[in-house]
């Protein structure tokens, strides 16, 4: 459940979309693009790296999602040529998602198969002495250039596959934990500003998670939120009508809380 694992999941925009869409309870209609964006930004920010291609790719996916969402809000009209385009685009996107899911499964199978293969060891013994004379000239056709190429390939610095995350503080952001924490603090003080609830949490992802937790508590009726002006302070007031356990029982799983499937 470490954050690096999530980064693997979010590497590609198609992966990201697939991940979001295959999460059982997520419906494009219900998911807020802003939430997805926050999640994505949080993932990118925590990696301390910006991969331009995948970010641009994300914008494309986000734009398609917006378009699809917009289409769902409007009454469907088969006569509308633009709706036809949209359907085609949707089919295309769906096809790509299915393809992406298929290769991901195939990759998982390859892993299993390779690990089974590790139990087989091939014979690598050198040629028996008596046959050495019969063997063709080992160096036939080999030039000093071939040797140089082979040496360069073998001695070249090997880039590491894994993103080095040793410099990062491990971030353990769970919506469930945030709910429990908010409930404890709010239950005691009855009313607090969102800022106050976040004061000890500097990481961006944790602020996002706290906000999600507030929304969950609001949905459950455990608290009320007030905001007097746009961008003003958000105040949370504890209603005392719902217990934390009830809220937690209903909480949707968020990506950060989930084990990665593959």
């Amino acid at each position: 459940m470490s954050y690096e694992v999530r980064l693997q999941v979010f590497e590609g925009p198609l992966d990201l979309l697939l991940h979001l869409i295959t999460r059982k309870r997520v419906d494009i209609y219900e998911v807020s693009i802003a939430t997805i964006t926050e999640e994505y930004l949080a993932a990118v920010a925590s990696a301390d790296e910006l991969d331009l291609e995948s970010s641009t790719g994300f914008l494309v996916v986000a734009a398609s999602l917006l378009e699809l969402k917009a289409a769902r809000l409007l009454p469907s009209n088969a006569q509308d040529p633009e709706a036809g385009d949209l359907l085609e685009e949707r089919d295309l996107l769906l096809a790509r998602l299915v393809e992406c899911a298929t290769f991901r499964e195939a990759g998982a199978w390859i892993l299993v198969r390779m690990e089974l293969g590790m139990a087989y060891h091939a014979r690598r013994a050198p040629l028996e002495d008596q046959f050495v004379v019969a063997a063709p000239d080992l160096l036939a056709g080999t030039t000093v250039i071939d040797v140089a190429h082979a040496a360069a390939a073998a001695l070249a610095p090997k880039p590491s596959v894994e993103v080095d995350t040793s410099h990062l503080q491990p971030i353990r952001a769970s919506v469930r934990e945030a709910i429990a924490d908010i409930a404890t603090r709010l239950g005691a003080r009855k009313q607090m500003s969102f800022e106050a609830l976040c004061d000890i949490h500097l990481e961006r992802i944790e602020i996002v998670v706290r906000f999600l937790a507030l929304l969950e508590l609001l949905k459950a009726g455990a608290l009320e939120l007030g905001q007097t002006e746009r961008f003003g302070t958000i105040t949370a007031s504890w209603t005392g009508e719902v217990g934390v356990d009830e809220v937690l029982a209903d909480v949707e799983e968020y990506a950060g809380d989930r084990e990665v499937r593959a």
């Binding site: 992966d15 869409i21 299915v98 195939a106 087989y120 060891h121 894994e162």
Partner: protein
């Protein structure tokens, strides 16, 4: 036929890479099909007799391997370095190239929806991908290597299970479709 079997066994012991049935056929002056039959018999025999070695057809040829049952005892005789676990991304690229290869870098990126150069490079270094087939112009194309096929225990990419085995089931595709669809 007994003699042929004997020579085939000797050849397999001597070889340091998978031996194609045709190469054995040339040495024995026997048709390839006959040799393949004898190889298959040998392989079945080793398994039936619970030998410490098995004969497998991989990467276009036949090769002797130690029986996987013995692996725990063999640890101190072998070190297979660089066997670090592959990332999900690397496995996905391997799958794409195994099924769709030879492919250019850009084609791999297109299927995955994300730039994959780093992953391709790592897989080349671990000799799981290779550049080729040889007689190509730009763009550079990538295929899975013989090393990959050997480790997977496959004769060739034609032996890969059908890709449809890995497709999400109809229900999840419908589900995905529903989530992408405008409301009726």
């Amino acid at each position: 036929m007994t003699d042929d079997r004997k020579v085939i066994e000797a050849i397999l012991l001597l070889a340091s890479e998978p031996v194609p049935a045709s190469a054995i056929g040339e040495v024995l002056e026997r048709p390839r099909a006959e040799v393949t039959g004898a190889l298959q018999e040998l392989a079945d025999g080793y398994t039936a007799e619970e030998r410490g070695f098995v004969l497998r057809e991989v990467a276009g040829g036949w090769r002797l391997y130690t029986s996987p049952d013995c692996a725990p005892w063999l640890e101190r005789f072998v070190s297979r370095g660089g066997a670090g676990r592959l990332t999900t991304a690397a496995l996905e690229v391997l799958a794409i190239v195994a099924y769709r290869g030879p492919l250019a870098r850009s084609e791999i990126a297109e299927i995955r929806g994300v730039d994959s150069d780093g992953v391709v490079k790592t897989l080349l270094q671990r000799e799981l991908l290779k550049i080729g087939p040889a007689d190509q112009g730009p763009p550079m194309l990538f295929s899975v290597s013989e090393e990959f096929l050997e480790r997977m225990g496959l004769r060739s990419t034609a032996d890969l299970p059908s890709l449809s085995d890995f497709m999400p089931d109809a229900e999840s595709v419908e589900d995905m479709e529903a989530k992408l669809s405008p409301r009726g």
